[in-house]
């Protein structure tokens, strides 16, 4: 669970293959904060800064940066962004500027890296525009505020903060399905799915045979595929059998007899 998908089985960096993932509408919003002196903020707000319109420049820089994200982050996919917005909100209570960047697309992978990059570069540009008058500015609190769409569903920074305050056990349960079932080769094709999440609470256990029955109860094409003769199964990447026990957090894989070499 919660594997680092940018690392392969040998711990080497890889770009994740998203070609099988569904195209969904995805958005992500990220934020950053630039703290500065009250005088600097006043210059920005009044538009009296020597380098010109600081906020407009930072906004364009953020949008441009979102489009260049895959050039900067090594394993990030190039995306066809459908919308990028960068808002810069002066906040006298900091004093400073809040940056919020939102990226949108219909695609196969999330856009949080684009939103983070936009927010970061807009903040850097604020620094660059104002450094002559205020070298002590601080860029801080760069984070993803929320993301929607995709397999992992909607997520907000706020909800995670709440989840963190609960006891560990409850947090884990709140993460959702805790048994990952994978399908390979002919099975994957017959199902048009390469994985399936099955609910299994922490501390619960089942057997491979019971899991097969549970999945078959979903109807076709699952029943036919799991009725195949010579169905092989691995639990946590070890060859297993129908009696093998499956626990919370395990990865179960079904596949046909192997034909390598």
């Amino acid at each position: 669970m919660n594997k680092l998908t940018h690392l392969d089985a040998r711990g080497q960096a890889r770009m994740v293959d998203v070609s099988e993932k569904k195209v969904t509408a995805r958005t992500a919003t990220a934020s950053a904060r630039v703290r500065m002196s009250a005088a600097t903020l006043q210059h920005i707000v009044e538009g009296t800064h020597a380098k010109g319109d600081v906020l407009a420049t930072a906004r364009i820089a953020g949008i441009q940066a979102a489009k260049r994200t895959p050039d900067l982050i090594p394993l990030c996919h190039p995306l066809m962004l459908s919308k990028v917005t960068v808002d810069l909100i002066p906040d006298a209570s900091l004093p400073g500027v809040l940056v919020e960047a939102t990226c949108k697309l219909a695609g196969q992978t999330g856009v949080e890296m684009e939103a983070l990059t936009a927010a970061s570069v807009a903040a850097l540009t604020l620094y660059d525009m104002c450094k002559a008058v205020d070298k002590g500015m601080v860029i801080e609190d760069i984070k993803v505020l929320e993301k929607t769409g995709g397999k992992s569903g909607d997520w907000t920074y706020e909800s995670m903060q709440h989840a963190d305050s609960k006891p560990v056990v409850e947090t884990k349960t709140a993460v959702g399905p805790q048994l990952q079932v994978r399908f390979f080769a002919e099975l994957r094709e017959a199902l048009s799915e390469d994985e399936l999440s099955v609910e299994l609470g922490e501390g619960e256990e089942t057997t491979v045979a019971a899991l097969i029955e549970q999945i078959k109860a979903k109807g076709e094409p699952w029943a036919t595929v799991l009725n195949r003769p010579n169905l092989l199964v691995a639990v946590n990447r070890e060859m297993s059998h129908p009696d093998s026990v499956v626990r919370f957090g395990d990865e179960v894989a079904f596949f046909p007899p192997v034909t390598g070499g």
């Binding site: 390979f184 080769a185 990447r237 060859m239 894989a253 007899p257 192997v258 034909t259 070499g261």
Partner: protein, 153 residues
């Protein structure tokens, strides 16, 4: 680490693999190798290409386990197992096993053993593309029989 396994889309070079296994070593008396190639005929004639799928993580672990098992059976000085995945065409190299030992008999037998076990235990699947359509290659009984020969009595 004397044993190394790799799963990759890129081609491999037998000479380089042997050199890397034997470099700086004077205890090796024998190196055997096996290279498998894509044939243009299999279950159907006119195989135009094949696509190899694997189970990342498990495949490497299984190959390492096969190498370990060979180590327990024969006195070996190192192994390389390289298997390609993705799309391959007839004539392409597909799998490589290199085994080093002090003596030839262990090297020959271990190489044979590793290939027989790889065929039946490592999670790779081949889909062949032919003039008459695509199909997943089915497992052969002859491969299971070949692997069974090594089972301890």
């Amino acid at each position: 680490m004397m044993n190394q396994v790799r799963v990759q889309t890129e081609n491999f070079n037998l000479g380089l693999e042997v050199d890397s296994l034997t470099a700086g070593r004077t205890d090796i008396g024998a190196v055997t190798s096996f290279v498998g190639y894509v044939r243009d005929f299999n279950e159907r004639p006119e195989v135009e290409a094949l696509t190899l799928e694997h189970y990342p993580g498990m495949t490497e672990a299984q190959l390492m386990q096969i190498a370990d098992e060979a180590d327990q059976r024969w006195p070996l000085q190192g192994m390389r197992i390289v298997h390609r995945v993705g799309r391959l065409e007839p004539g392409d190299q597909i799998v490589l096993v290199v085994v080093a030992s002090a003596h030839r008999q262990a090297a020959f037998e271990a190489c044979h053993f590793v290939m027989d076990y790889l065929k039946t235990r490592a999670p790779f699947w081949k889909k062949e593309h032919t003039a008459s359509g695509d199909y997943w290659v089915s497992a052969r009984d002859s491969d299971s029989h070949a692997a069974k020969r090594w089972e301890k009595k």
